[in-house]
């Protein structure tokens, strides 16, 4: 019998059978775009810490940016389609998925959900087209998991606001044309749109990262930045503002992680089939098969969970703790899978020619941002027991 390894571990689950033609078409279009435009270069970009900004307008043309939003030049797809696009993006590299998540679910969503009509008209069409880039500043050097303590502050001066403080670990920060910035005010936490070039607003990119190297991460500084009241997101009040955005982005991540895991397993299956040791392909050894079988079961379960949560979201009945279940499980499984796949590749596994270690390194960030795995564990714990155990 001539052995023919499975190309895609998700085939075993026939995931395609629970998707509509349209969802599959959107997914395969993104996959094809990445195959042509990203995959041939991604190892190099990761090595050189290069973000291919020129791809933003192309992603815009496809309709990827803010794709699940309605109107203002956005494609208006369902949530499952958005998830599937994230899955394919992250199968290429978490850096691209991060770019798309921040642009669509943090920057654009914050404006779409909490902004004035004027703000929407000013920013959303350009952000959707990839002509402008957005970022989202919540985390600060001293406040990560507990953003409610943030020190960035906006005080009224006449009709204007004066913004002071800094933000840390901000994806797209250094290249953003507009930053959604969350700050304390006398009335509580409020959001502001700060255009690039506003006097007193500066950024500095964070170097020497070992993760998400093909994505830009920056610090933002605000030194007496004067903003008109029209820069404030009028509908956002309190921490609910930024948290609603994070829920959108986390939803994309719980699909994205499946992509990174799938791509790692594909690399491992392919390698194990061609690598011969002790006169056999290493895929014919039981230990390798156990790894591949366990990982395939795990990625398939993660994918089914993602689609299930997507359907709940499309029915507008998904709850935040359900998103936590998905983010916790799928990212945790994905990073374990990527690391295990690396072992299948032996020494070759540490080379950028193969994807698993790049995915594993990227997933270190994914495990931490958008709520650490510990935070999501506590959310799930509270949903089960009724006791909040954060403090």
């Amino acid at each position: 019998m001539s052995a023919k390894p499975l190309k895609d571990p998700l085939e075993l689950f026939d995931i395609a059978s629970v998707l509509t033609d349209e969802e599959r078409e959107i997914q395969s279009t993104v996959a094809r775009f990445l195959e042509d435009r990203v995959r041939p270069h991604i190892g190099q970009w990761f090595e050189n810490a290069h973000f291919a900004r020129e791809l933003a307008p192309e992603l815009g043309k496809l309709g990827v940016l803010g794709m699940h939003l309605e109107g203002y030049g956005c494609a208006g797809t369902n949530a499952v389609s958005y998830g599937l696009a994230c899955l394919e993006l992250e199968a290429a590299d978490s850096g691209f998925r991060s770019f798309v998540s921040v642009q669509g679910s943090l920057s654009m969503f914050s404006i779409w959900k909490w902004g004035s009509e004027e703000q929407k008209l000013q920013w959303l069409p350009r952000l959707a087209a990839g002509e402008a880039i957005g970022c989202f500043g919540l985390t600060e050097p001293d406040f990560g998991s507990n953003p409610s303590g943030m020190r960035t502050k906006a005080v009224r001066e006449g009709g204007d606001w004066i913004l002071n403080g800094s933000k840390m670990w901000i994806t797209n920060g250094g290249i953003a044309d507009v930053a959604t910035v969350w700050a304390q005010t006398e009335e509580g936490i409020r959001g502001f749109l700060v255009p690039r070039g506003t006097p007193g607003f500066t950024t500095q990119d964070i170097k020497q990262k070992m993760s998400l190297r093909a994505s830009i991460t920056s610090e933002l500084y605000f030194d007496n930045v004067r903003l008109p009241d029209s820069a404030r997101l009028p509908l956002a009040e309190g921490l609910r503002g930024p948290l609603s955005c994070l829920n959108e982005a986390r939803f994309g991540i719980l699909f994205g992680a499946v992509g990174a895991a799938r791509d790692s397993i594909q690399a491992a299956i392919d390698y194990a089939d061609s690598r011969v040791q002790f006169d056999k392909p290493i895929s014919a050894f039981q230990l390798t098969q156990k790894k591949l079988a366990d990982m395939t079961v795990s990625v398939g379960s993660a994918a089914l969970l993602a689609v299930h949560l997507g359907r709940l979201k499309d029915q507008h009945r998904i709850r935040p703790e359900q998103i936590s279940v998905g983010k916790l499980n799928n990212v945790r499984e994905a990073i374990a899978i990527a690391r295990e796949c690396r072992t299948v590749l032996g020494a070759n596994g540490i080379s950028l020619e193969y994807s698993p270690l790049r995915h594993a390194n990227n997933l270190e960030s994914v495990l931490t941002y958008e709520g650490t795995s510990e935070m999501h564990t506590l959310v799930v714990g509270q949903a089960i027991t009724g006791y909040p155990a954060y403090r």
Partner: protein
């Protein structure tokens, strides 16, 4: 302005392709089917012309149920409507039958100015269908085109074959077949994919295209595949180590094969 583009669904060239045991037709069961990549460029060219001339683009495909996916793909890229010729009796149709069916489908579209096709499909590679369709429709044919310009009532094309390059011109209506050099096809946008669902696709069978025709006369297949053998595996090349005489060796090699 009305443009009709002819497209075919074929097995993915990236995957291994197989012929079915019995009649040596393509095994469609076990392969991924995709819109043929040269035909996709014909569709792209139609959409480019649509952008500048405001043409209505009709995509026509003959094939089993699955061919609808390829029609939808072109609709997602931006075409306006589709015609799907689907009839079990067309299974294994040869080039002449295929061309007759396609020509009949083109005739159902009113006031056609331009018919676009790929110069070949990557499965059969016969490269004959566009020319036969043009002949049946009585249209001038401009085949193997790598550049196309449309002005008012004329079409000008740069034709490129192994034999050389020529500039062709013809009055409209005309048929143009394109090579893979003509353009880079666009990716369908998400909006296009969602809109495609709502665009009209007419499904027609043989009885609709040729009312009253009798099968036996029409479906006589002029060709039959008697035998199919896989291409022999490539043999290793010759290695020339340059010890100062490599030039001589290369020349001898080429002369022996009458290549110079």
């Amino acid at each position: 302005m009305n443009i009709v583009v002819l497209v075919k669904q074929v097995p993915d060239t990236a995957a291994e392709r197989a012929l079915s045991e019995g009649d040596h037709t393509l095994d469609r069961e076990n392969t991924d089917l995709v819109l043929d990549e040269i035909n996709e460029r014909a569709a792209e060219e139609a959409l480019r012309l649509k952008a500048t001339t405001d043409a209505e683009v009709t995509v026509v495909s003959m094939g089993p149920d699955s061919a609808l996916d390829s029609i939808r793909k072109v609709l997602a890229m931006g075409a306006d409507r589709g015609i799907h010729i689907c009839d079990d009796r067309l299974q294994g149709a040869d080039v002449v039958t295929t061309a007759r069916v396609l020509a009949a489908a083109v005739r159902t579209v009113a006031d056609v100015d331009l018919v676009l096709a790929g110069n070949a499909a990557t499965d059969g590679q016969a490269s004959a269908v566009p020319a036969i369709v043009a002949d049946l429709l009585g249209l001038p044919q401009l085949t193997h085109v790598r550049e196309l310009v449309l002005d008012a009532k004329r079409v000008r094309a740069e034709r490129e074959t192994e034999g050389g390059e020529t500039t062709l011109e013809a009055p409209l209506p005309a048929l143009v077949s394109v090579t893979e050099k003509i353009n880079e096809p666009r990716y369908p946008s998400f909006k296009g994919i969602m809109a495609a669902k709502k665009k009209p696709v007419a499904t027609i069978g043989l009885d609709g295209l040729f009312p009253g025709a009798d099968d036996t006369g029409f479906l006589v297949s002029r060709t039959r595949v008697v035998e199919a053998v896989p291409r022999p595996a490539r043999s290793a090349g010759i290695r020339v180590v340059d010890d100062g005489l490599a030039g001589r060796q290369l020349a001898d090699h080429l002369i022996a094969r009458k290549l110079v």
